[in-house]
Structures are given as structure tokens and as C-alpha cells.
């Protein structure tokens, strides 16, 4: 059974439509959700989490319907929205004190261990953390309640190359034992070169391709020019797929 299955997700806005989005993630997988800004990556992730109400479609988590078992499913999910700060004037210890009450599998020892490992000071306020540290704090929360699925919306945006590499290395470590999975939206394709095992490409609200990374790259080699010899990388694939010509 897949950890997460998204089937036929549709959402219509006045200027944008998410059309029949379907993909699935197995245990131990890191799936990269790529697409340019405004392609529908965040809408897809928010629809999965019932923050956006889809017009059609079904979300299954471990075979259970998310809408019906929302609270249960969220027990097993950790979420990081890059660029959204919660309670930026509160200390981490205050946020943790509240958050831990809601999770039945909360592990205080694991929490202390990850706080130390990531060098997070519980007395610091959210607005005193760098972007990378904020992501690490939210990952600490997710790991402390033993989340099986991490949903990360552009977690590496705005990070310097060192912090980004550090996080990507962490993601690889997190899925190593095969019990956790990561769904990770980004428009920085080099992140996925390093850590994704599969890729879902979303363009103008539609899935263009979802596949294992190697198969995905192979599929798009038709975009290569005759004089090119090596394989196109993810960035080239995305640029050539999205390229527009302006007649001005």
C-alpha cells in the first residue's frame, strides 16, 4: 500500500485551474514536486492537507480517506511551509509546549535530541531564527511526533547554498531506514538532483509527468538538440518545457 495517494484532484479558481492531479508516494521515498511559480504546487499540497477545498478528487493516506479521517491522518504528517512563520514573537519552548499536547506519539527524548542535534535554542523566539533554522525547528516537531510523511513546501527557498546542502543531506538521512517519506515542492531543481527518488512535474495546474527520477529524466530527453550529447538535467528539462517566445 502507498503511503499517500492523490487521485484526480481538481480545483477551479477564476484565473487558474488544478486539473486531475494524481500521484502516489511509497514509504522511504523523496518525491520532488516541481513546476514554475504559480504552476499549482502549493495548491496541490494545501489540497492534500484540506487547507484548500478541492472540487473533486480523493486523498488517501495509508489507505484511509483524508477528508474523513483528517485528525488521524495529520497525526502522521509533519508540514513545513517555507516563508510562513507562526507566532514569530513566541519562544520555541512555548510553541513546543502547546504542540506536544496534540500528538499522541510525542517523544520528549527525541525532541531534546533533535533540538541539540540542530543546535536550536528553545529560549529563542521564532523571529530570531534564520530561514534554515526555522525549517529545522519544524522538522524537529515532525520527527518528535514520529511523522511518517513530511510535506515540505519550498523549504529551501531563500537559503544559502551551505544551508540548502545541509537540509538536503538531512532529508536523505530521514528516509534512509525506509519508514518515512518526503513530499517536497520546489522550483530549485538542483535540490532534486541531489536527493529526490521520484519527480512529479506540474505545469499550468496539470501533471506533465510523474515517475522515478531516472525514468523522468529519460522521458524528457526528446527535448535535446541534435548537437547535444549528454543527458539534459532537471533544470534544462524545466526551462525547455516552460520556455516562451515573446513577439514584441
Amino acid at each position: 500500500m502507498e503511503l499517500l495517494e492523490v487521485e484526480g484532484l481538481c480545483k477551479k479558481y477564476s484565473q487558474f485551474t488544478l486539473k486531475d492531479v494524481s500521484f502516489s508516494i511509497g514509504a522511504g521515498e523523496i518525491m520532488g514536486l516541481i513546476g514554475k511559480n504559480g504552476a499549482g504546487k502549493s495548491t496541490t499540497l494545501k489540497s492534500i492537507l484540506n487547507m484548500v477545498r478541492p472540487d473533486q478528487g480523493k486523498i488517501l493516506m495509508n489507505g484511509r480517506e483524508f477528508q474523513r479521517f483528517e485528525a488521524e491522518c495529520k497525526q502522521e504528517i509533519g508540514v513545513v511551509f517555507g516563508g510562513i512563520d507562526f507566532y514569530k514573537y513566541k519562544k520555541l519552548s512555548d510553541i513546543t509546549a502547546v504542540t506536544r499536547l496534540f500528538y499522541r506519539n510525542w517523544d520528549d527524548i527525541a525532541y531534546q535530541r533533535y533540538m541539540q542535534m540542530f543546535e536550536l535554542d528553545p529560549k529563542k523566539r521564532v523571529n530570531q531564527l534564520s530561514s534554515g533554522m526555522k525549517v529545522k525547528y519544524l522538522i524537529t516537531i515532525a520527527l518528535s511526533h514520529n511523522a511518517k510523511l513530511l510535506i515540505l513546501d519550498e523549504p529551501t527557498s531563500g537559503l544559502d547554498p551551505v544551508a540548502r546542502d545541509d537540509l538536503l543531506e538531512l532529508f536523505l538521512q530521514l528516509v534512509k531506514n525506509g519508514s518515512r517519506s518526503i513530499l517536497f515542492s520546489t522550483h530549485i531543481t538542483s535540490d532534486l538532483d541531489k536527493c529526490a527518488s521520484s519527480i512529479t512535474y506540474i505545469k499550468n495546474g496539470e501533471i506533465l509527468k510523474t515517475a522515478e527520477k531516472e525514468d523522468f529524466i529519460k522521458y524528457f530527453q526528446y527535448l535535446k538538440r541534435p548537437d547535444e550529447t549528454g543527458d539534459l538535467n532537471l533544470e534544462e528539462i524545466m526551462i525547455r518545457t516552460e520556455r516562451k517566445t515573446y513577439h514584441v
Binding site: I84, T99, L101
Partner: protein, 213 residues
């Protein structure tokens, strides 16, 4: 339910919510329009909604292992605690003034049973308009407050005017005889508050389910 309340008061509520609750003690002021106290019972939740919007409280709550409806429930419980708490804090002061036979309030209504009953109705109507408007979008908190303040202020003016209208003068005053006559007003207030808050919750939840965060 305890967890939601704890989350509201530890993370989401603005400190003025607690301060304004204690302004229930303003009932001690001898010559004063006591409906101003009710105003603070509406301002406290409004400030907290405003603060919650700025601190992305709705995103945090929506990601917790809860149903989406519980985002509304948390704010609904917080508001009830703030308003009922404010009135309860003021009750010992009002009771002391009645027992010690303080001079009747010349400005408007006395802090008597009718005041508490009508105050609860004023709160209930404010909450109904405020919540049901706010949860259409989950961000237009200023607009919801303005819409809610219009009926609330009219009711509050009406409460203060009761002591000037001969037919309703029995609602003012704190003699034992008048207090007994005012008991049904208090009971009506409690019933209206309970029923209208239940309706407010139901409509707000239905509206919030349609909101895309």
C-alpha cells in the same frame, strides 16, 4: 477542548484579551455607562483575532492533528471564556454594591440582573455577526468587526436608554422587588446567548469549510 483553550491562551490570544476580561471590575465605578464594559468584551476577542491573523495562527492550527472545524472551535471557545469570564469577574462587585445599597447609577442602567441578561444578548448578537462574517474569508477581521459593532452599539444604547423610558424603568434599579422581576430577563439572556452561540458556531464552521487558506 482543554488543548484548544490552552493553545488559544498560550499562543494565539493577545494580552489585551485577559486585561479586558478584568475590566469587568469597572462595575465599581459609581457613575458610569456600564455598557462600556460590554464593549471591552467585544474588543478583546477582536484584538485577538487581529493578532492571530498577523501571527499566522490559522495555518498553525490547520496543520495540527485536528479537523478543520476545530480552527473555528478554538476561537469560539476563547470568545465565550473572555465574555462570560468578564461578566463573572464583575458579579462580586455588582453584588457588593447591591448589598451595600450603593446609590443608583444616574448615567444609565444599574449593574443588576437585567443588565447581565441584556449584556449577554448584546454579546451574542455581536458574536453572531462577527464570526459569521469573519469566517467567510478568515482574514477580513476589520470588516467583520465594523459590521458586528453596528447592532451591538444600537443594543447598548438601548440598554442605557431603558432607565429613561417610564415603561422600562423597572429594568433599572436594584431593590429586591425589582431584582425578582428582572430574573426572567437574566434567564432569557442566558438562553439567547447559548442558542445564538450554537447557531454562530454552526454557520461559521460551514463557511470556514469553504475557505481556501
Amino acid at each position: 477542548m482543554f488543548k484548544l483553550i490552552y493553545k488559544e491562551f498560550r499562543l494565539a490570544a493577545h494580552p489585551t484579551l485577559i486585561i479586558f476580561m478584568f475590566l469587568g471590575l469597572m462595575i465599581i465605578i459609581p457613575f458610569y455607562p456600564y455598557t462600556v464594559v460590554l464593549l471591552f468584551g467585544c474588543l478583546g476577542p477582536f484584538m485577538s483575532f487581529l493578532y492571530a491573523r498577523e501571527t499566522n495562527d490559522v495555518f498553525y492550527t490547520a496543520l495540527l492533528p485536528l479537523k478543520k472545524d476545530d480552527v473555528v472551535k478554538a476561537k469560539w471557545l476563547m470568545t465565550i471564556i473572555a465574555q462570560v469570564g468578564q461578566l463573572l469577574i464583575s458579579v462580586p462587585v455588582a453584588a457588593y454594591k447591591i448589598m451595600e445599597k450603593f446609590e443608583s447609577n444616574p448615567v444609565g442602567i444599574d449593574a443588576n440582573l437585567a443588565f447581565y441578561g441584556l449584556g449577554l444578548i448584546s454579546f451574542a448578537i455581536f458574536n453572531f455577526v462577527f464570526f459569521t462574517n469573519y469566517y467567510r474569508t478568515a482574514y477580513k477581521v476589520g470588516q467583520a468587526f465594523i459590521f458586528a459593532m453596528i447592532p451591538c452599539m444600537l443594543i447598548n444604547f438601548g440598554i442605557e436608554a431603558l432607565s429613561y423610558i417610564p415603561a422600562t424603568r423597572w429594568l433599572d434599579g436594584t431593590s429586591q422587588e425589582l431584582l425578582i422581576k428582572q430574573v426572567p430577563v437574566l434567564i432569557t439572556g442566558i438562553v439567547v446567548y447559548a442558542v445564538l452561540m450554537a447557531i454562530t458556531y454552526k454557520i461559521s464552521v460551514n463557511r470556514f469549510r469553504q475557505v481556501d487558506l
